[in-house]
């Protein structure tokens, strides 16, 4: 850690980890309801409330983790202290308070009622204020030092601005459901397949420059190409959500063609990350666990978002699979790989520097959580995929009733529940390990800071 103010990233990470833990707990509560018909919590925590909390916590913890990492990265890239640590803490307070108010509100039926955007308008406005404080703080950090922005920081800023702007389309109530969903996708799709991809690409680029010793110019060139391709395919790729919501028929063509190309930049990110990671093997000090999370994130991002997404993006397939458990399988796999694992990777890269563990390579506990989380997630995703395929066959093709089909899927919902419980164990191990890293070591116990290295010429 070169700048004192970077320490604020730790507060963001710790808050994010607690929310992540809660997200998993509410995920399990939701999945129990798929297994047992009699729901003892029907009156206080019906499925819709449990799901709303589960998916809101997902967005909140990922945002906080990415924002924390942004503060850390920007200070390092611009070579200056963060403009205001107080503002960063105020922002964290606003966002956490908004999140808690939203979640408590859901328990009392205080909801805007759009999936992922259930926060009532007043809370959404508070979130906007929190994000504006963030943008101002990051912007002032970037521009007061009179230093030219690096390409990675410029991309990151672009992603954050896009994220803030797109959120505005989720605020108004629209009388026409089709119009409402048209713009709802501007938040949901253009976040995860636009703004967040920009943020992720730049943070991965920064982490690779930092960890692998590969020259900046080479990595930044890749990041630029990937980001352009993400936007080129992803913006019109929104059309794969416009097949069946009342929008014109031509979206079946535009959505299919552009979204079918969406896996290309993700594939490039995977190849790029792995290629650069292999170079890191030549370095003396390697943050093995941090790199493992980073590499695995690139792989699962490609599988979950790229392959699983491509599998049902063409309208000929999507008309059968739309709105089934196959979508749930894709959602879990893609979010985990693209953003969940990336957020954890960034914590494993940044927290050791903050806590004074510069030679951290990963402990047995850390690797155990890595294996537990990823294997249980694969089981969870596969069980939902199988449930989805059976559901499509019985319900959509054979014409059986929805609830009757749900009964037939019970085995796979049980597998999903067990996988979720194992995932929870992995989460506890992860929290244990990361809290250890977050604890600042007294000066006497610290290993000396390693000197910057570059990859030796082949």
């Amino acid at each position: 850690m070169r700048y004192k103010s970077q320490i604020v990233a730790r507060e963001y990470f710790l808050a994010a980890l607690l929310l992540f833990f809660l997200q998993v707990v509410f995920g399990i509560l939701s999945s129990v309801k798929y297994v047992w018909d009699t729901d003892p919590l029907l009156a206080i925590l019906p499925f819709n409330v449990a799901r709303a909390i589960h998916i809101n916590l997902l967005v909140f913890w990922l945002l906080l983790a990415l924002m924390g990492a942004t503060y850390y990265m920007v200070a390092e890239e611009i070579e200056t202290e963060i403009y205001s640590v107080k503002l960063a803490r105020l922002q964290l307070g606003i966002l956490l308070a908004s999140g808690v108010a939203a979640i408590v509100g859901y328990l009392f039926q205080w909801s805007f009622g759009l999936p992922f955007l259930e926060q009532p308008t007043v809370i959404k406005l508070a979130i906007v204020v929190g994000v504006l404080v963030f943008l101002a703080n990051v912007g002032l950090t970037m521009f007061t030092n009179h230093q030219t922005l690096t390409r990675t920081t410029a991309t990151l800023l672009g992603g954050m601005v896009m994220l803030a702007v797109m959120f505005l389309f989720g605020i108004p109530f629209m009388s026409n459901l089709s119009t409402q969903y048209y713009f709802w996708w501007w938040v949901i799709h253009l976040w995860v397949e636009g703004a967040w991809e920009l943020i992720a690409a730049s943070l991965v680029g920064w982490a690779l420059i930092k960890l692998t010793g590969v020259p900046r110019q080479r990595i930044e060139g890749w990041v630029f190409a990937e980001v352009c391709l993400v936007l080129l395919t992803g913006i019109i790729g929104t059309g794969h959500h416009y097949y069946w919501i009342g929008t014109p028929h031509y979206w079946l063509w535009w959505g299919a063609i552009f979204s079918a190309a969406e896996p290309i930049p993700i594939m490039m990110m995977l190849v790029d990350t792995v290629r650069h990671m292999l170079k890191a093997r030549r370095l003396a000090t390697v943050n093995t666990l941090g790199l493992a999370w980073l590499g695995a994130s690139a792989f699962v991002h490609f599988m979950g978002a790229g392959v699983w997404g491509f599998g049902q993006t063409l309208p000929q397939i999507n008309r059968w699979t739309h709105g089934t458990q196959i979508t749930a399988s894709h959602g879990h796999f893609a979010f985990w790989g693209a953003y969940g694992m990336l957020a954890i990777a960034l914590m494993y890269i940044i927290l050791p520097e903050i806590g004074g563990h510069p030679t951290e390579k990963g402990t047995k506990l850390g690797f155990a959580s890595f294996v537990t989380l990823n294997f249980s997630m694969i089981f969870l995703v596969m069980s939902l995929l199988i449930a989805g395929i059976v559901q499509v066959y019985l319900q959509r093709i054979m014409g059986m009733d929805f609830l009757e089909v749900q009964n037939q899927l019970r085995l796979w919902f049980e597998v999903r529940l067990v996988s979720g419980c194992i995932f929870l164990i992995g989460t506890v191990l992860l929290l244990w390990d990361l809290f250890r890293l977050a604890r600042t070591l007294p000066a006497g116990e610290r290993a000396p800071e390693p000197q910057p290295e570059t990859v030796p010429a082949a």
Binding site: D37, T38, D39, A43, P46, F47, N48, V49, R51, A52, Q109, S111, F112, G113, L114, P115, E118, F173, S175, N176, L177, S178, T179, Y181, Y182, W184, F224, A225, C228, L231, L232, I235, I236, G239, Y242, Y243, W244, I245, G246, T247, P248, H249, W251, W254, R319, H322, G323, T324, T327, A328, Y393, R396, I397, M398, G399, M400, D401, F402, L403, E404
Partner: protein
């Protein structure tokens, strides 16, 4: 020769512009495709209630939302007015076993708004989604196909497959004649004044005949 960087920038910008252009066109066409003129105050109130009770985190609508409960895009067309009204008043009574929907204790007026909203949604032009069941159903007789296509199995069951809300039809042919079944399809209340079964009067005559033949053949 422009650099790769310039080409990438230009292509990205162009795609964003194309997207905005299509957005303008789509919004222009949405009015007709969604019958916007039928968006009455009651329908809009129904949408507000739908959001207020966060129905969308259990149910999908236009295929979007939670996967815990049935998609409601076509529920008005499938279930009909009377059934939906009764269900929204007392969900547990209509589905005595299985996954439960909470009772929101809605006032009659609220129920009316929700049903009006569902009616409006069921008329949105969704490019043919959700598709009518096919596959195995194709190999079935004409009447069995109509039975599935009209979602009769959500309430009635045959040979253990289907809903439990309405009578089991496995041996319907040994209880009722074809004429009785036809009368029931055309006007369910002619046999039972408080029946909540929707009328299938609007079905083409040939489909009704096939369905009645099929059910009368179940001995």
């Amino acid at each position: 020769m422009p650099s790769t960087r310039t080409i990438l920038w230009a292509a990205t910008l162009l795609s964003a512009l194309a997207f905005l252009g299509m957005t303008v066109d789509s919004l222009r066409k949405l009015g007709a495709r969604t019958h916007e003129e039928r968006l009455s105050a009651e329908v809009i109130e129904g949408k507000r209630l739908w959001q207020h009770y966060d129905c969308n985190d259990c149910h999908t609508i236009l295929g979007i939302g939670g996967y815990y409960a049935p998609d409601v895009t076509k529920s008005y067309a499938i279930r009909g007015d009377a059934w939906l009204r009764q269900f929204l008043k007392e969900p547990a009574k209509m589905y005595p076993a299985g996954r439960q929907m909470p009772n929101f204790h809605l006032a009659d007026e609220q129920v009316g708004s929700l049903v009006a909203y569902l009616e409006w949604v069921s008329e949105v032009d969704t490019n043919g989604w959700p598709p009518a069941p096919e596959g195995v159903a194709r190999a079935e007789s004409g009447g069995a196909k109509v039975f599935l296509a009209q979602h009769c199995n959500t309430c009635h069951s045959i040979q253990g497959s289907g809903g439990t809300l309405a009578p089991d039809l496995s041996h319907e042919g040994s209880r009722q004649t074809k004429e009785w079944i036809l009368a029931q399809l055309n006007d369910p209340r002619s046999h039972k004044p408080d029946s909540i079964m929707p009328s299938f009067k609007q079905l083409p005559e040939a489909a009704k005949q096939e369905l009645a033949d099929y059910l009368a053949g179940l001995k």
